[in-house]
Symmetry: C2
Subunit: 420 residues, 2 copies
């Protein structure tokens, strides 16, 4: 396949632009800048078209010219193309005109956007000959590595903070992966993984395979543009952990413009965090580009609890370049955000989704997102993954015997009220 | 829309064939037979084609000529077209040649096949003017009614046995629906709902709207046929609660053959139950057509725990007509089934999925499914919905401090073993 579409050309230092071969490396030897996938956009431009894309199956791989593998995907071939849901009732509740939910709560196979990055990383891991794959994770990534590795027959190790949500731990264990719980916050897990990656020759999806892995997030942006009828939303609100997803949605929008898939048009990208771990949002609010680490995150939003965000600086640059803002919300607001999304759009999101909805609400109320401009909220994982966050906070069933009389007594008042 | 495609013509008694208008009724006044949607297949045949279907968005509504609503869907327009996954590693583990998983664990929006039936029922409920919708449910249906009603702005009541899995209760409450827990098994919940439906003028999706509701299950069959390249699997294994899904997959296959979408070809449909509530499987094994009720189901598979299955008789007829068999499995085998599917296909299913996999394994081992013929397993809901069934049964994380030395001590043996 490489012969007829050599679109993915190199790795390239994001700082100095130095080119590197397409290997399992992730840091520039000269300035320690992150390496990123680079493409031959002229070749892509002369090959790709809307028609070509739409003729392909509805998965994230319909944008394969923009993804950093050489051949056909061998892992996660059916991932992506999740619904973009026009949420009119939620729009009314938030007082805005045009609102969409990009719904990765139903992404295949493990109900989060991480299936996008993992299918790229593991497909590339196979091309590079790895037999064991691994990751540092706050939960979703571990679930996805475990499931996709199981389907592909790769051995896997997932390293997670020991105090993760029950469903996220179970959602890795069930696939028969090796789950290692680390006593410490995510940043310590990540640091340990950097040491391990160098020693064992394993494919760590978010360490030595990170340049490949990260590109998978672009597909969320490509899909949003296609599903809106080949145009961009005026505003996109993205949750931030490392900050990578936000920068990659930006890259996707720019690539579609650069290759002529969509017209040049204004767009703004906003970032959302939980106040208990909001280093990127803090820096944005203080108008600085240096992200001050949060040594001890304290929030129910464990999937975003990264105190030293690897792409924080680039996320800030992206928000600034597009005229965007960052916002952060308390744990109580997170729960409100989850409930708003469920009650008005019928979508049950994990805590990160609550962050996105609640932050969007703040951005709307403060005027940073005008009420008459189109908005997409990126909802990245399913609510059952963090069930304990809302358990006991959505009421309880009313209990009766199987008796019509008991039922009638129970609902009489509300039925009468509804009839008036 | 009715004018140019009057494909859905009537309701019709499944026993005597008497025709009824397309209203909120479900039982024949003369012989108490169930009413079913009837179509003008000649009109469908002259209108539909593979090309026409594939030109439409990848949702269950691409088969809309075969669905019983008059206009365009107003609820659940993005439901369906879940992945059909070729599961080669699981095939090898089960010792068969060609195996596929129809993966409704990632169905939009509530992670089970019930979103298919609910989107039809609620779209029809709106056409019929209902403002309040309701259901009797073992959990998945309640989740789907609650979510889809929330998105559509319909009031909803969901009635469930009081002892359901935690995630299934939460997965209804979060949408702000009215959850009523009934002290008693599902059959008593269902009986109560029949009494309520007559009195309140509500649209009960599986009582007075049942003829519309049930047709939604056909889309799982249509999708299987299309995704296999417009042909049928030789064997389809379907979990049975009321038995409805199995009969509707059969109807879908027959309709595709009858209207010329696919060629006439042999196919066999098998049913799967949990041994703690297996009235249909028991009847099949005893070669009788009378289903003996199970007054007190005892199984971890609550979603299939229907002691008096409404479509049991028709499920038996379907299996017999297609040369199929029924099988049932113990709770321990259910867990094994869940783990097999997770470890070899990377798909985490709820207990009903474990029933399907474990029953398929038995059918293969007993020779009822030949090892060299193609097989589709219908996996109907996500594993996080019944997490407690596998909690503590998939091992636990191994815990260490964030130290390379501790990590190396932990994995030294297995890394050495894997290297040899």
């Amino acid at each position: 396949m490489n012969e007829d579409r050599p679109f993915f050309s190199n790795l390239k230092c994001r700082e100095c632009g130095r080119l590197y071969p397409k290997e399992a490396i992730h840091i520039c030897e000269f300035d320690f800048g992150p390496l990123e996938a680079a493409y031959d956009y002229d070749a892509i431009r002369s090959s790709i078209s809307r028609e070509r894309i739409t003729s392909r199956p509805q998965t994230m791989w319909r944008y394969r010219e923009f993804l950093p593998i050489d051949g056909a995907p061998t892992v996660g071939a059916q991932v992506g193309f999740t619904p973009l849901v026009k949420a009119d009732r939620l729009a009314a509740a938030l007082g805005v005109k045009e609102l969409y939910i990009k719904n990765d709560t139903v992404n295949y196979p493990t109900l989060s956007f991480k299936d996008r990055v993992v299918s790229v990383a593991l497909s590339r891991a196979r091309e590079l000959g790895f037999k064991v794959v691994a990751c540092a994770s706050t939960g979703n990534l571990a679930n996805s590595v475990a499931a996709n590795a199981a389907a592909a027959g790769l051995r896997s190790y997932v390293l997670i903070p020991a105090d993760l949500e029950q469903s996220k731990v179970l959602g890795s264990l069930v696939y028969g992966t090796n789950v290692i719980g680390i006593h410490g916050p995510y940043d310590q897990v990540n640091r340990l993984c950097s040491e391990i990656a160098g020693k064992y020759g394993w494919g760590f999806v978010n360490v030595n395979l990170r340049p490949y892995y990260a590109e998978g997030s672009k597909t969320m942006g490509f899909e949003i543009a296609e599903q809106l009828g080949w145009k961009l939303p005026r505003h996109t609100v993205v949750p931030m952990a490392s900050g990578s997803l936000l920068t990659k949605i930006h890259k996707a929008y720019k690539e579609f413009i650069h290759t002529g898939i969509i017209e040049d048009q204004p767009f703004t990208i906003h970032g959302a965090q939980a106040s208990g771990c909001s280093p990127i949002s803090e820096a944005m609010k203080k108008q600085v580009e240096i992200v001050k680490p949060v040594p001890k995150p304290e929030t129910i939003v464990k999937s975003l609890a990264i105190g030293t965000p690897a792409d924080g600086y680039y996320a800030i640059r992206t928000m600034k370049d597009t005229g965007g803002s960052a916002e952060d919300v308390s744990d109580a607001e997170v729960i409100e955000g989850i409930r708003l999304l469920a009650e008005y759009a019928g979508i049950f999101a994990e805590t990160a989704g609550g962050v996105t909805v609640a932050s969007a609400r703040k951005l709307i109320e403060s005027g940073k997102i005008p009420r008459d401009e189109s908005i997409v909220l990126c909802i990245t994982g399913h609510g059952l993954k963090t069930a304990e966050a809302v358990q006991g906070k959505c009421g309880e069933p009313r209990l009766i015997k199987p008796s019509l009389r008991e039922f009638e007594a129970l609902v009489a008042d509300e039925v009468a009220a509804a009839a008036n």
